[in-house]
């Protein structure tokens, strides 16, 4: 069966949809959370160092 141009276009769009993977959003969210918590821990760490210097 020979494909028409519209059918080919549909096939490409469908292929793209199939490859569209939202797993990256999950990785991004996890990385944001861990980076955010680590940044806060570094800030706490700085605070401890300051106190150590004073005593």
């Amino acid at each position: 069966m020979k494909q028409t141009i519209t059918e080919q276009f549909d096939a490409n769009a469908a292929e793209q949809l199939a490859q569209h993977n939202l797993m990256n959003a999950v990785y991004a969210v996890l990385i944001i959370i861990f980076v955010g918590i680590l940044l806060y821990l570094f800030r706490l760490d700085r605070k401890v160092s300051k106190i150590e210097k004073q005593s």
Binding site: A18, L22, A25, I33, I37, L44, K47
Partner: protein, 370 residues
């Protein structure tokens, strides 16, 4: 280490390890992710391309098992289109495979003829050989062609048996929701941020009351630590939510959503708390004023992010507006198995961080007094 004293640290470690590993590696249930064309003009045979994500027939092929179609393995046997409120349907048994990504091809004769069918949206279902269905609601719009007014309709005017896409069969896999797809796993990472923030703010509120009651500065420092780490959880909740919204709702911050507006106001109130605290220098005055402020804004915060979105007519978030949340459609049994530990684990982790911050602030306070 004394187990009784450090229990929440173990809870945070074990639960979060379980949630992160399980949430990343457990597979998603198969589901229809896309379809083309999405608009069909009647009066002839149309080729439908249906994309199936995590197609079960591909998975079985990967194991090299050739027993396809014996009932245990699932292959597509029928493609059905059903519109809301009608008793008939378009369907075909001719389903072909195409491509490597679980794409299906189905030729369906759409003839409306002399029937009184109107233009409508149709949900698409793929019937599998084991009797289960994969479905995509309101996926295709079928419209009558100008010349399609004579002859018999191929629309089956028989009462169709109920197509149940949400059968309660327990499998260790996450549900494949339309739009969400793989990102449904973010439920274990984005949503608990808000639960953790609320938990820490509630604890802060309790200790603020304690400070006003007993006047012990330690209670104030504890409450302050809880608020600060709660704000950290809230900021991370905002950023992760924006990331998730970008790929699913196609916008970083859909401003029409009542929950987002509520959070924007609520977060501003808590940022004002930080500002208020930094302007006051006398520890007792600072403790008294910020305790009152903290107690005052906590119920408003709850109202803004939990109650107002429920009252508003519509919202993108589940559990608010007209949408449902935390029922069997949003949280199936596998999701529950990870969601509840995730909430407990993240609360424990943030409590742990807040506790560290409290101990540091306490030492600093003692140094200042010495």
């Amino acid at each position: 280490m004394n187990l009784r004293q450090h229990w929440y640290k173990w809870v945070a470690t074990i639960f979060l390890l379980y949630v992160v590993l399980g949430g990343l590696f457990l597979p998603l249930k198969p589901g229809i992710t896309g379809l083309s064309p999405v608009k069909i003009t009647s009066g002839g045979t149309q080729l439908l391309r249906i994309n199936v994500y995590n197609a079960p027939w591909l998975k079985e092929n990967a194991f090299g098992d050739e027993k396809i179609g014996n009932g245990k393995f699932q292959i597509p046997s029928k493609v059905i289109l059903v519109s809301k409120g009608t008793v008939g349907r378009w369907e075909t048994n001719e389903v072909k495979f195409s491509g490597d990504h679980g794409q299906l091809l189905a030729n369906i004769d759409f003839t409306m003829g002399e029937s009184k069918l109107e233009n409508a949206y149709y949900s698409v279902f793929v019937e599998l050989s084991n009797g289960k269905y994969l479905g995509l609601p309101d996926a295709v719009y079928v419209e009558r062609a100008v010349g399609d007014t004579v002859g018999k309709s191929t629309f089956l005017n028989k009462p169709s048996e109920h197509i149940n896409n949400d059968r309660e069969i327990f499998e260790m896999s996450f549900p494949n929701r339309t739009v969400l797809n793989e990102s449904v796993r973010n439920l274990f990472y984005h949503v608990p941020m808000w639960f953790a923030m609320l938990a820490l703010l509630a604890i802060a509120c309790w200790y603020a009351v304690r400070y006003l009651r007993f006047g012990d500065l330690q209670d104030d420092i504890f409450a302050d630590s809880m608020v600060r780490v709660g704000i950290l959880a809230g900021i991370l909740g905002c950023i992760t939510g924006a990331t998730w919204a970008r790929v699913t709702w196609q916008s970083w911050w859909p401003a029409a959503d009542p929950k987002l507006n509520g959070v924007a106001i609520g977060m501003t109130m808590y940022l004002a708390y930080l500002l208020l605290r930094s302007t006051l220098t006398d520890p007792y005055q600072r403790a008294r004023i910020t305790s009152v402020y903290s107690i005052f804004i906590f119920p408003i915060f709850i109202a803004l992010i939990a109650i107002m979105p429920k009252l508003s007519p519509n919202s993108l978030h589940p559990g608010s507006g007209g949408t449902v949340g935390f029922n069997k459609y949003d949280l199936d049994s596998t999701m529950r198995l990870f969601f509840y530990p995730a909430v407990i684990g993240w609360i424990a982790l943030y409590y742990w961080i807040a506790n560290l911050r409290y101990r540091i602030a306490l030492i600093k306070e003692k140094q200042l007094n010495a």
